[in-house]
Amino acid sequence: MKLGVDSLDFLQNAVRESRAIRHMSPHPFRNAPLPEADELDLRSYRGLIEVHPADQVVVVRAGTGIRDLQTELATQGQGLPWVPGPGEEENLDLVTAIGMNLPHLGMATHGSWREWVLGLTVVQPSGEIVHCGSRAVKNVAGYDVQRLLVGARGTLGIIAEVILRTCPLKALPDVAVTQAAQVDFIQRTLPTEFPSLVAALGDAVVLADKAASVVYGVGEPAEASTGWVLTAGRYAIADRVQAKYWQRAKAEFDPSGKLNPGEVQL
């Protein structure tokens, strides 16, 4: 069943009533959907809830597209330091970008979603609505669950609303990529290992950004001694420690396995 979500109530009810839910937008780097899961489309749950340019904070519904958000923020002299890589959907919704902690070209100077997400409103598999973090740019009260949900691929809770730290327009990264291309992997290493990685990749390189030491490529990634790679298709975890704690996290947050089944191979 495919459902368009346009309110928190609707989302809450849908989650309560469903046994298996897929809820992020299609993306080449996501795993293939399982046919038996209900599809929740959050893209109609969009729009800004609060904007505080003086505090550099925005509260926004998670279905909002990033380009739409940037346009709104720009009217207030603010923006997100998000610089999409080649082939990236420019108006990708937040729930997908944050769920995957999608890499981008401003990472080296402005960090990733993990640094920008200050707080979340999350719908749990039980339908319970919970909050974590706060609107304060500096906050150490309690566990930073929001950091854990960024990059959790929607497997631990459904991100419904986001509190984001914004950046003055003049402090945004000065990179622009217009090139559209197919990308099979995104890879990043330490700066010193970057030249040899690029050399090893040869023709596979679609874009090599030295500043962020990140490569967007086609075909197969090359071995690198340090760093990470994100490949299209099946997302599986090689690291034993990641796998162990992801399993534990899953057992705590979503013991019935309702959320984004098949999204992560544990």
């Binding site: 505080h52 340019p53 003086a54 505090d55 550099q56 904070v57 995957m100 902690n101 890499p103 990472m107 960090g111 990733s112 993990r114 640094e115 999350v122 749990q124 609505i129 919970v130 909050h131 974590c132 706060s134 609107r135 304060a136 740019v137 500096k138 906050n139 150490v140 009260a141 309690g142 566990y143 930073d144 669950v145 950091r147 854990l148 960024v150 990059g151 959790a152 003055p168 327009l169 003049k170 402090a171 990043r188 330490l190 700066p191 010193t192 030491s213 340090t226 760093g227 990470w228 994100l230 997302y235 975890i237 690291d239 420690v241 990641q242 704690y245 992801w246 534990r248 996290a249 705590e252």
Partner: protein, 477 residues
């Protein structure tokens, strides 16, 4: 006592005698950190010298069902290293080595018992530093910074500890040794290191960490601005941030602090000064830094500042920083006791929040001074009082809670850098609903589903803590 002797014999089976401290003096010496309201003595303190030894101690604690609490320099301000249920204190102070410096990649691997400042000292010649700079940085350890996700004046521009620690070695609450994070940040997957950083030592003991090193700016200008009202100073801060300028530091000190500084060091400021604003702009381009400072200058003048003094060379800049750095210490000379609160609000709410602080203090008839990270909206109201008078203590507690409630109402937080520890357990319920707290408890259980690793911290109403709490609550001098 026999149980205790048996324990010690077992611990000494894998540690040298000088790595195990016990006896009345040791138990007393480690019964609190820099937060002194709550105290409880451990049975023994161990001083492991390697990750393996830490793991061995933790496994032994699991085997014997003994609570354990990690401790660095003991400079925490919320009781994070208080051994709330007794047991063993695991000190990291023998883990003080820098293991690797990778200058080309601007990273460093260090053991977590090393003092924060030593990290910067080690790479100063290379023009780098470790950016988090809590006031206690000459002593506070890297491990403590990780546990509390420490901040400091310059985190406004450079970010808190979580932004500067990319990977760590963790001894889990069960005694396993795991590597979390990645030397190359921003990657896919669960941010396990991000969850552990700031978890106040409740998710295990970090023994080594890869930290990022930040280039020292080529150009720095510091300004100390005097204002005739606190509101003009706070309005200036809001305007500076709104202008899109992000200074390296934006700190405010009010008249209470200036009074203490005069009493302690005979420091004088222009007549009629009610607040001092310290602004630091830095960067690699002299022109950009100058332009930023010109913006600051114009804003402060439009807010009727009484005086604006700038400095560019190191000695003159340090002189301007004196008021900020010595302020809290100077408070020690005003009254026998001080409580430093730590609340956060969205920075645009600073003017009205400050009004609230003064109103609350005057209604409760307590002296208050403010010294704080204005750029982050991170307040530090310091109440000074006589702790020998129970009525004053009660008023201080009530006033503190009122201020915290207001921080939450304004969309802020009950702590920006000191942590919850045991100090703010009761306030967690004001900021988070029971369901929110259970959500956090789920995250905690990923690493720690027992009751041994730094028990009774962060989350209120933990099993076995509620009843025990009366034994450590308020055991001040």
């Amino acid at each position: 006592m026999d149980v205790e002797r048996g324990w010690l014999a077992e611990l000494m089976g894998f540690l040298r005698p000088d790595q195990v401290l016990t006896g009345a003096a040791a138990r007393r010496g480690y019964d609190c950190d820099a937060y002194t309201v709550d105290r409880f003595p451990p049975v023994a303190i161990v001083l492991p010298e390697s990750t393996a030894e830490v793991a061995e101690v933790v496994r032994w604690c699991n085997l014997r069902n003994v609570p354990f609490t990690a401790r660095g320099a003991g400079t925490g301000l919320s009781g994070g290293s208080l051994p709330a249920l007794g047991g063993i204190v695991i000190s990291t102070k023998k883990l003080t080595q820098i293991l690797e410096i990778d200058l080309p990649n601007r990273q460093m691997l260090a053991q977590t018992g090393i003092a924060n400042k030593k990290l910067s000292d080690a790479v100063k010649a290379a023009g780098l530093h470790f950016a988090p700079d809590p006031s206690s940085q000459t002593v506070a350890t890297l491990g403590g910074n990780i546990a509390e996700n420490a901040g400091g004046p310059h985190t406004l521009k450079y970010g808190v500890t979580a932004s500067h620690v990319v990977a760590l070695t963790l001894v889990t609450p069960e005694g396993d040794v795991v590597q979390l994070g990645d030397r190359v940040p921003g990657g896919p997957g669960l941010d396990l290191a991000g969850l552990v950083i700031g978890s106040e030592g409740t998710l295990g003991i970090a023994t080594e960490a890869w930290v990022t090193l930040t280039p020292l700016p080529n150009h720095v200008i510091t300004a100390l601005v005097a204002f005739g009202t606190v509101r003009e100073a706070t309005e200036s801060v809001a305007e500076i941030i709104a202008s899109g300028t992000i200074p390296a530091a934006l700190e405010i000190m009010d008249r209470g602090i200036l009074g203490a500084l005069k009493a302690a060091f005979n420091l004088e400021y222009p007549v009629g000064t009610e607040a001092l604003l310290l602004v630091e702009c830095d960067g690699d381009s002299a022109e950009l830094v100058k332009a930023e400072m010109a913006t600051v200058d114009a804003i402060c003048r439009s807010q009727n500042c009484l005086n604006l003094e700038t400095a560019e060379d190191e000695v003159a800049r340090q002189k301007l920083w004196t008021a900020r750095k010595k302020g809290v210490g100077a408070m020690g000379r005003l009254a026998p006791s001080i409580v430093t609160h730590d609340g956060v609000i969205p920075r645009s709410k600073l003017p009205e929040m400050l009004d609230t602080v003064y109103e609350v203090a005057s209604r409760h008839q307590i002296g208050v001074a403010n010294i704080f990270h204005a750029g982050d909206g991170n307040l530090h109201p310091c109440f000074y009082f006589d702790d020998r008078d129970p009525d004053q203590v009660r008023r201080v507690v009530e006033a503190g809670e009122e201020i915290m409630r207001r921080c939450i109402e304004l969309g802020g937080s009950i702590t920006g850098e000191h942590g919850i520890g045991v100090e703010k357990l009761d306030l967690m319920g004001l900021m988070f609903s029971p369901a929110d707290l259970e959500f956090q408890a789920q995250a905690k259980r990923i690493f720690n589903d027992g009751a041994l690793c730094n028990p009774c911290k962060i989350l209120p109403n933990q099993k076995s803590c509620v009843e025990h709490k009366s034994r450590w609550r308020g055991m001040a001098w």
